[in-house]
Symmetry: C2
Subunit: 659 residues, 2 copies
């Protein structure tokens, strides 16, 4: 099916508006880049000052070309751009890339010029990338429509659909995405979902993560970099591979495009040098992959292929001699069909221009019969000869051992990725929570009432508004009990001396009631007191925080983390776009560093993860359903009890969205 | 002062025992490597099968050379090596590198051959590297005595002193060290201390960190890889920079050898491309360095150098135009003398073979007047032209942005490194602790008695051996108190129901005494009970673990970590070789991820770090002083109180070293 951007990415003809003979400057370089990369279509330089450039006829204006033009590349001063685009539209040009700078990023009048370009695009249907664009490069179509050789393509300039194009493009196996910020979020999410559904890996670099980076993104593209945790949550949901290093990202792409997916995480490390093999084994092991000792039977087979001072245990040291004897190749063949490992890392030195352990004749049979990933890492700079022979055999020689380790881990994780089925927020019964949102701020009692009405299970608690109600409340809660002051004017109860726990007798309870009111009065004399909330002490459990918030880019997000001070100290929290299903909530819990605490740490009982996951899903759906009414929910803590015993919400706070 | 290894690393003459004409094989490559790298001395090929090789006269045996030989490189079958070495010794050869494999790593008879080589080295004084050696490469002396171009030099083969040589060698600015294991620990530590004293940076790669890596190291060099945490502790003590990635290590070395040390951690990021600048700012910020927004006055100066769409805030986007206008160079000049930043990262594209923002004429003046580190990163593959121009100007063009960020962080940390003054263990009064070490295992009471005798402050506790002593003990401790069963047969008191806390009355105390004895009897009927330890409840404080152990390679180590289950979960512990001074103990505490908890987290009081540091130092000295008697000390927990209120040891265990 043709895509509207086909004529942009695979143009038959390109006009270069502002072409120049000076190869030292950007306009001149655009032409030489196009020709150096052997663009197969027609090129029309446009510049009234020249009759010809570099052997090509040069036209005074776009109207003079008189032939169809698929793409115009615009590199003239900012103030002249709009006029040129209007001429393009009149001449029927389908797409334009504006390299020129000096628009919205400068503010003022310049921003107005950009608005005019957006309006022109809308009115004419011409698809425009930029201004201030880097251009693009398509290896498959031999189109180098950029002045700088970089993989950074800006997917975010509205209303363009670069990312969407690559998702549906059959000649693209893996997508490398560079993001400063996203403007058309819905289009982005739809393409992300589609990529996940068809199993096309996306490797994403998100910049503007630091304070300085955010500042620069705002000045560079006049757009907000956004909150990285929300971006990472979205990336995780769709199985994107996050890489913030260019070489690492390219290594991951190289590994993914040249290998089948692994069935597990067990790696065989084959080496021609003992020390390098240890280094390789360490590196993949540090990434959390297994490097299992091989069984005696396969070791016996491998030993037959090696000199006596080789090693067959894993790492497998075939030694320098083993390369020339063919032991390396035959070891790969053995491991490729073995059920003891899921992937093979070959560590070797390919610096020589003449000496080669592998030539095409030897490599191709190995790789064409390949059952599992075989990754080649050279600890010396690979020679041109080696790279050529490997490339011709369908493999890539990689440099950078840590990047290789990361790539293998990412490949293993990617192989396990399954897109979570959508949480059925639409299926929730419509509820009216407006009665709970009348006051500007909600107390714990207000918040819990809202949650209870929304179907969340909470402990049976009673709001005691005057002393006379206390006896009945005690009888209902039973000892030991907890008592907490309730006031919309006192958001931090503990700091106001507003909480009493482990109350074990009536005398203590009445004393506590009096003391709570007095503390509140001292802390905040003008506070309107709702009463004292009386409930049973919760059973012990693992302290967890569950929360929601509204991200400026992606909307409602759900968060879960280990409770207590360590959460903040170790930053051990996981976010996902809300809503999530219980299954997705379980996966969030498994991703916490503190996950062992839920799974029976140091002999403790395994906790009720299903109950907690269900609660997280419910809270997330509530946030998604009432996205216009609720800005935050914080359940802090919820105590997770042993398996089958559920989870208890101890405290809760709902924050109303400000009109 | 001449070093005994001068004749190895800077030989006037080299004999190649086993030289070959076949350049495809290792022996042949050794000769061609030596000549390709323009070794300036004499080369004597030794092989009875040839009259000459590659234009050089070939000798049947070493005895036939008849001229002095500084170094023999041996690459003949293992069984012939010993004989050849004997001939070398007879001919007065000073040093030998044995490339041949097939010795101790194979075990059996082959190991015996290696023992014979060691004996020969000792008897003759000939210095021998190997067998199974990679050889070495000295750029300064143009000696390529290796068959493979790698930086990995094996510093650990006894009794060699490669590391020591480089520490004292004036032509070596930075040392890259690759370690599988260390055999001569004292020599290693002396060289490490010397390097720290003279301020020569050491970048170390330690392999054999994973299970698979350890297995391989054992089979590869027949040596133990050792416990990485102990290695890392030693590296930290001497300010070594740990890097387990070759490209990263080389990047760090490049940054250190071409720059002055920074005075702080504030980085200016200069870029020719907006997106790349954001990426660069993110990367150094993620490494914990600061990328501060520049003051209005310096921004005004910088803006004069840039086109209107540039950015001066930091990152500073000079734009592609700013490169040609000289704005980039002049911005560097401005930042180099500014007191607002301590280092400069320049992000640019140097892929062009002709176009260059910097040529020698422009670069050299900038770099020769350089006041602070200026690091150049190219986000495209740098051209040969660019690399040559930079190298000639005394700078390096770096690739790999994350490696650059790590290198800048390591440089900042290295600039702050000060070698801790040695802890004065020798100055401790000699103590006799033998009375405490008579039983095979020590109870808490035994352990605390030992510690008290060794001068460690502990709470005043009483061992109650029979009921009649309880009244006096209660009177001494005062309520609330804690009671704990004491038995050398019950190492885990809590699990045996052997601890009661918060006892507030005499009645409770007597009941608890009875209950403790009964629990112990049920748990371990045959346990010999020492009694019940009665003491005051400790004041609240931050829970910390302090421990010592004996590492097989480096001896006594001191450990500190956050107490409670999170220690294990987040692996937040710091080790150092014992003993440490209180100042070094403070530095250990500051290196904990949990350090904020000690420094007044979330409004809590700042804790008594001096008291805790003093305790850590005392425990470490005890471990070092009684290294033949004590194998482990564990203080778990010690509660650290607010500033000025000290720290309280709650529980302690000393483990006797097994004879």
């Amino acid at each position: 099916m043709p895509h509207p951007l086909d004529s942009l990415f695979a143009p038959d003809s390109i006009a270069l508006i502002g072409a120049s003979r000076d190869l030292e400057k950007i306009p001149g370089r655009l032409l030489s880049m196009l020709r150096k990369n052997e663009f197969p279509g027609k090129i029309f330089p446009i510049n009234p000052n020249y009759g010809d450039i570099d052997g090509l006829k040069c036209y005074p204006a776009i109207a003079d070309v008189g032939q169809p033009i698929d793409l115009a590349i615009v590199i003239i001063p900012a103030r002249a751009v709009l006029g040129a685009l209007e001429q393009c539209a009149a001449a029927g040009v389908k797409n334009a890339v504006i390299i020129s700078s000096g628009f919205a990023e400068e503010g003022g009048d310049s921003a107005a010029m950009q608005d005019a370009i957006v309006a022109l695009a809308k009115n004419t249907g011409m698809r425009i990338s930029g201004p201030n664009a880097e251009g693009f490069y398509s290896q498959a179509q031999r189109v180098a429509a950029t002045f700088s050789p970089t993989v950074g393509v800006n997917p975010d300039a509205p209303p363009l659909e670069f990312f969407e194009f690559m998702v549906q493009d059959a000649s693209t196996d893996v997508i490398l995405l560079f993001i400063e910020g996203i403007r058309d979020v819905d289009k982005f999410l739809a393409a992300a979902r589609r990529a996940a559904e068809i199993g096309k890996p996306v490797i994403v670099t998100k910049v503007g993560r630091s304070g300085a980076g955010e500042r620069a993104a705002a000045s560079h593209t006049a757009s907000m970099a956004g909150w990285s945790a929300a971006y990472d949550a979205v990336f995780a949901k769709y199985g994107f591979i996050v890489s913030n290093d260019l070489d690492e990202a390219v290594t991951i792409a190289a590994v993914l495009t040249t290998n089948p997916m692994p069935k597990g995480d067990r790696v065989a490390v084959l080496t021609v040098s003992g020390g390098a093999g240890i280094w390789g084994a360490d590196t993949v092991a540090m990434q959390g992959l297994q490097v299992p000792e091989l069984s005696e039977s396969i070791q016996t087979e491998i030993r037959k292929l090696l000199p006596s001072y080789g090693a067959a245990g894993n790492p497998i040291d075939v030694t320098a001699q083993g390369v020339h004897s063919g032991g390396l190749q035959r070891s790969i063949d053995l491991l490729d069909v073995s059920d003891e490992v899921d992937a093979i890392l070959v560590v070797l030195s390919l610096s020589s221009d003449t000496r080669m352990p592998f030539k095409q004749a030897e490599l191709k049979p190995v790789l064409s019969a390949q059952n599992k990933p075989i990754v080649f890492y050279s600890y010396t700079l690979p020679s041109h000869f080696a790279r050529t022979e490997f490339a011709a055999s369908g493999a890539v020689v990689l440099s950078g051992l840590t990047h290789v380790g990361v790539a293998m881990r990412q490949m293993v994780q990617r192989a396990k990725f399954r897109l979570a089925p959508p949480a059925a927020v639409a299926a929730l019964p419509p509820r009216d929570i407006s009665a709970h949102l009348k006051s500007a701020t909600l107390s714990e009692f207000d918040s819990k009432s809202l949650l209870r009405d929304a179907g969340i299970a909470l402990p049976d608690e009673v709001l005691v508004s005057y002393r006379g109600e206390l006896d009945a409340a005690i009888a209902r809660a039973g000892f030991p009990l907890v008592m907490k002051i309730q006031s919309r004017d006192i958001p931090h109860k503990s700091e106001a001396g507003g909480v009493r726990v482990n109350i074990a007798s009536k005398g203590e309870a009445f004393a506590a009631y009096q003391a709570l009111l007095e503390s509140a009065g001292r802390h905040r004399p003008d506070a309107a007191i709702q009463g004292v909330l009386v409930g049973p002490m919760a059973k012990k459990g693992v302290e967890i925080i569950v929360g929601t918030l509204l991200d400026a880019t992606f909307g409602p997000m759900i968060m879960v983390g280990l409770g207590g001070i360590t959460t903040e100290l170790f930053k051990d929290v996981i976010y996902r776009p809300a809503p999530v299903s219980a299954a997705e909530a379980s996966a969030m819990l498994a991703a916490l560093k503190a996950a062992p605490l839920l799974n029976g740490f140091r002999g403790a009982a395994k906790t009720d993860i299903p109950a907690l996951s269900q609660l997280i899903a419910q809270i997330s759906m509530l946030a998604a359903q009432f996205v216009t009414e609720i800005s935050e929910i914080e359940i802090n803590p919820v105590l997770v009890h042993p398996q089958g015993q559920g989870a208890t919400i101890v405290d809760a706070l709902v924050v109303r969205k400000k009109g």
